[in-house]
Symmetry: C2
Subunit: 117 residues, 2 copies
């Protein structure tokens, strides 16, 4: 039988940044955790919204028309097609949800390989 997933326990199993790890499936979406630190590049997902929930630390999601500041317990959904740049001055931990197969970088050529953890 499937068991519950403890986010903190899963996050303790890896240390690399910008490499989402798959925790569960929801209707063809991957539910993932990731550790972020530094500036990611500007990108967009033409076919999907991008769900971020900060679990620990702080995350800024830069948009072309302003920044969204998130701390633990805060979420934001970047609408599809909207350019964004995630930036974490210090390491932050997030829960994210994307349709299975979505390149995290917006481009399959530069995307991280998402593996279950």
């Amino acid at each position: 039988m499937p068991d519950s997933v403890n986010l903190e326990a899963k996050l303790s199993l890896f240390s690399e940044h910008w490499t989402p790890k798959i925790l569960a499936a929801y209707n063809g979406n991957d539910v993932m955790v990731a550790k972020l630190k530094g500036e990611y590049h500007w990108h967009q997902h033409p076919d999907t919204d991008d769900f971020f929930l900060v679990l620990k630390g702080r995350l800024t999601i830069r948009l072309r028309d302003g920044d969204v500041h998130l701390k633990a317990g805060e979420l934001f959904v970047v609408p599809r097609g909207v350019e964004h740049q995630p930036v974490a001055e210090e390491e932050c931990h997030i829960l994210l949800i994307e349709p299975r197969g979505t390149p995290n970088s917006g481009d399959p050529a530069t995307a991280a390989v998402k593996l279950p953890i």
Copy 2:
């Protein structure tokens, strides 16, 4: 411009149980918070998985072949078509995600009206 959503702040705005409040949209899904206390009835969703993340307190999701115990920071996805009964001995707070229009009770006739908050 859309702003971040603070889960605790949204949860402070209501007290009723078993009435999910809509926080955000993600690809045609409602991202919601709810407060649960007591036993919900057994039900299932034939067309969708059911995503639960516990934010505060404890939740048991009874399945026909065993119970799944969740505490804050733990998630579980009930697969579509699987009968389940959420039970919270003390009040618990959850984040849940369901396709827009999904009756939380599994039956439109008995479902809570989900409103934005």
